[in-house]
Amino acid sequence: MKRINEFVIKLATVNGSGSASANTLFAKALFRLGLYVSPKNIFPSNIQGLPTWYEVRVSQAGHMARREGVDIMVAMNPQTYAEDATEVLPGGYLIYDSSLIRSFERDDIEVLPIPIAQMCAKEYKDLRERQLFKNIVYVGALTALLDMDYDIVTQLVEERFKRKPKLIKPNLKALEIGRKYVLETFQCPLPVKVRPCEGTHGKIIMTGNEAAALGCVWAGATVASWYPITPSTSLAEAFEKYSSKLRLDEEGRRRVAVVQAEDELAAIGIAIGAGWNGARAFTATSGPGVSLMSEFLGLAYFAEVPLVLFNVQRGGPSTGMPTRTQQSDIICCAYASHGDTRQVLLIPGDPHECFDFAAQAFDLAERLQTPIIVMSDLDLGMNDWVIDPLIWDDTHKHDRGKVLDAEALEEIEQFGRYLDVDGDAIPYRTIPGTHPTKGAYFSRGSSHDAYARYTENGELNAANLDRLARKFETAAKMMPRPVIKRASKASKLGLINFGSTEPAVREAVGLLKRDGYKLNTMRLRAFPFGKDIAAFAAEHERIFVVEMNRDAQMRTLLIAEAGIPAEKLIPVLSYDGMPMTARQIAAKVQGTIESDKSVAQALRLSAAAM
């Protein structure tokens, strides 16, 4: 087994013990060493005292999905010692706090006891410091065990406490304690270790929520209204942080307003009011919030009010698993609200796209005058991903869509808010206060004619509904196209995925290829579906649809909305709340190929054509 620069290390700690910061420091150091890391924070829905894990896949090759099996377990939580030990692969290592000695019934792994608590007790007098620095101590130990460039680690500590320099020393000391102990006690480094490389040079490491928040800032969003809910909270908080820093006017006043609403209904109501009034506005939430927003989402669809909604998905149904990931709000969002309502979805595949799509979402919302729902998930939103630096093109002109200003209003004879002037089914709107006598109209969720007048004439209303349906066709043309990667032109086997499953899919496709199965892949990035989707389906006999939900929701959408025959689409599902692994996908694909005749037939077809 290749274990240099390719391994999984897992840190088992206790919630609220200060480990999260130490763990991030550790992952960042690995990243600085040039390695791809994909840390997954597996935390409870609680604040203190429950088991928490931080699992870091380290990969020079760039694999960023989770991988089964742990090479090095840092077991700091006696509550979970037993289960933690079982996860270590044969030949792997288990480090634990041996202040209280215990035995682990595994003779196929190596146990490295470090008396962390004892050492801290000796070193620090303050009880809190004792507790806190335990985390830094194990990081220090790891630097030696893994042969990490120590300067990089100490430099990171210094960067981090730039503004609190007095904290640098105690942290460095804690690092030293751990490092020194293992250097003196064990054979360092371990065979599982790192070697600096260039892999991630020039890259950044960031969560999707941070990226999306930055996207909102760069898109010129001025109003954010939200209600706290995991895992979307950090998006709103990051937006508040960056926008209030980057948007100060000459007098120190803010060119932005962030409102913590009293609930999700108010959060989206505020965004609708602001969007209607010409500001770029958004809200961020997760499943329960989306359900609560659905009446308002129908209003925004029907009254044609631009707004952006980030749905950072978590485990459903209901309150479900708030700290786990899923992609299970697909149908709920695509058809959010009662009546003939349909919503536009953007589905980023990594934090880089979270930034790009966040920025695009505001253009699309204003161009289409409708809500744009950006579908992220907990894994994408809250975990750190290694990505290319974010890019902004200074020549980009924010597209505010069809808005008539006072001058334009002067020129036209009669303004009709919902008239299809250009044949693309997108009407012109006006912003309140624009003109003293022209362009005012009445927005409403009740049936209306092309002049925004209330009507109970069923045909006028149906005509308006037809225009909305045509607008959705226009939308399909504006959506980001899917990313298609072909293993072979001739392959009749395809795979469709979207969102955060991308790293697992990329790796799985590699594994499958190695075993002789060539799959062409298409990563969906939006709904409504453009032409490419049906075209891809037409080219393939059997297509695996990878998604993290029980009901194969995207598959349902593909069947219903892209007209793909059901029998073509084979679900590959996972809904235990954990990010998928490549092997999960590869095993399901391979299993199906080998057991299902129709798939085997497709494969033969590909082979014949190859």
Partner: protein, 351 residues
Amino acid sequence: MTYIKKPAIRHPGLRQNNLGLTRRDYEGVLSTLCAGCGHDSISAAIIETCFELDLPANRIAKLSGIGCSSKTPNYFLDRAHGFNGVHGRMPSVATGANIANRDLIYLGISGDGDTASIGLGQFSHAIRRRVNMIYIVENNGTYGLTKGQFSATNDRDSKSKKGEDNLFDSIDLAMLGIQLGAGFVGRSFSGDKDQLVPLMKAAMRYNGFALLDIISPCVTFNNHAASTKSYDYIRDHSEAVDKLDFVPEREEITADYEEGQTIYVKMHDGSMMQLHKLSQDYDPRDADAALATLRKRFTSGQVVTGLLYIDDRKQDLHELMKTTKTPLNALHMDELCPGRAKLDEINKEFA
């Protein structure tokens, strides 16, 4: 066709205000409410107020929820943008609109069902957030548009048109407003134009959350305590055809009384309502006293009208949030988008 454009007859002799506009320029489409509905009187008062204050209609945004009351923004200020949202959620839409452009006047219109039931949370939090707006509750103690169910402001023990008892105590929105920190709280009666228009003028000029709880009798589903005589009379006659679908045309109920006076106003069903107009020596700047007065009069069955409470020193939401003075919706993209270089800097923080 329920959109009826009013005939555009111009009376050249109509009085003009300082903007050169006539009352007509402040009107909306023809009301589709029941003849005699108190809500129409409130619309008239709004028109009067805006005309007399020389307000340019396009600097006003009208927002409402759902209900007969919430329909009224269609019936005034045709030149203003309007937003008839969903039931009970006007406060949040108004908050968002206000945040986007601090320079317009926000006129929120709601009903007692819209505000005191489904919308109670949003109402309370808009107050707490000190949104700079005028919030008018057209309070008729009933769900007009859905045909006469009790609302939460309906008096205990009164009877509905169908003869059912109201079991629950009413919520007094004015008291609630003061308690939650509204900076301006007034109450009036739709038929008391002399009190209503000045109160509205003051509310329009107030910088912060101004609540106007306006008693506005519902002609059709009026449900104040049954006064045997006339109530039965009407019931007999509406039941003459067995269903409650007959709405007799009625005159608007008016009230004309002096400050400090308590009067009885006869409702459409023949019942009486007691209005008490605050006297000149009442000090509306003392919230504690205001609440005490309201509670006391309430216990003796009186509805106090007038300017109940005002606090001039309260900062509005924008001041609290320290938003820039230019309306957010008027900022240029180059003031908002930090650009490439700044993004490169941020990238570095994550490298």
